[in-house]
């Protein structure tokens, strides 16, 4: 027990190293407890179903455990785990909900792209922006969350969503323009 308590002070990457190289598999419980809530939140934000989100969280953390030997430390453990999380959820939505971004994008063209994305939009209220985020396409929403909430590198976002880096950058650009357009449409000019 005391040993486990000391391990709680270790970083994610140190824990992974001990689990993989020293076969202290019981330490995965610490990572599990550390990330269960965060993974659950991410799943819920994309699936909008508590039962499915809880089920997915268990699956994702099991998957992460199996893949741990493949974690090379090129990015942080959290970034690596979130890549698995988003990949799992988006793959599910693409298959079960028949997500089709190109068709959705064609049906939801942005009539006017603002040129002042970086000017005074910081005055926008975040709770309203969160409402708008909910009406974006799930893939655009996932990209915004990955880039700006989880601060994942474009390379990791591309790998998680099975896209090229160029496609990720362009889709994030479009998602931001859509956020502004929809914000103005729903709430006027701030």
């Amino acid at each position: 027990m005391e040993k486990k308590d000391n391990h709680i002070l270790l970083s994610d990457e140190e824990l992974v190293q001990k689990i993989v190289n020293e076969r202290e598999t019981n330490l995965f419980r610490i990572l599990f407890d550390r990330y269960k809530g965060k993974v659950l939140d991410k799943c819920y934000s994309l699936l909008h179903n508590r039962e499915s989100a809880a089920e997915f969280t268990e699956d994702i953390l099991s998957k992460a455990y199996e893949k741990l030997p493949g974690f090379k430390g090129n990015s942080s453990f959290s970034s690596w785990l979130y890549s698995i999380t988003y990949n799992h959820c988006i793959d599910y939505l693409r298959e079960k909900k028949k997500l089709h971004y190109p068709e959705w994008n064609s049906r939801n063209e942005i009539p006017e792209i603002a040129d002042d994305l970086e000017e005074d939009l910081s005055e926008m209220h975040y709770s309203r922006l969160m409402n708008i985020l909910e009406i974006l396409h799930e893939e655009e929403k996932a990209m915004i969350l990955m880039k700006y909430k989880d601060e994942m590198p474009v390379k990791d976002i591309a790998a998680a969503l099975r896209l090229s880096e160029g496609a990720v950058k362009m889709r994030i650009k479009r998602a931001k323009a859509r956020l502004v357009f929809l914000y103005r449409k729903h709430y006027g000019d701030y």
């Binding site: 040129d115 099975r162 896209l163 362009m170 650009k173």
Partner: protein, 134 residues
Amino acid sequence: MKNGEFIVNIFRQQKKSVPSAVAGSLRVNFPSATGVEWSQPGQLFEAIFFHDNAEKIARFDSDGNLLEYRVNIPPTDIPSEVKSAVNEEFEIMNCISVFISGLTTYELIVRNRDLVRYLMVIDHRGNQVSLKTL
């Protein structure tokens, strides 16, 4: 950061200053570019912006020379030679044209019936250059 506050930061990015030769080159090559955002991969300068209602990414050296640029192509505008180069078993999910040193290639994301995704590169004549599982 409270849950949700991150989203405001999307629009609070620090403005990156770029050499005037680079900024000038963007204006010359893409005169009506809007929503320009700069980043600096290595020694290069990269701009992502809207131009002619399409997302574009352009890379410059520090002297302002345009080294390459990429253009997002909507499904309806994909050239016929590119479409015909894609085997029927695949569906095109994304298409970007890439211009480097006077040569044009097309970088496609395609998927098969089992939803397995691939990165496919096609040259300007419609020849498949590479196919890689994503």
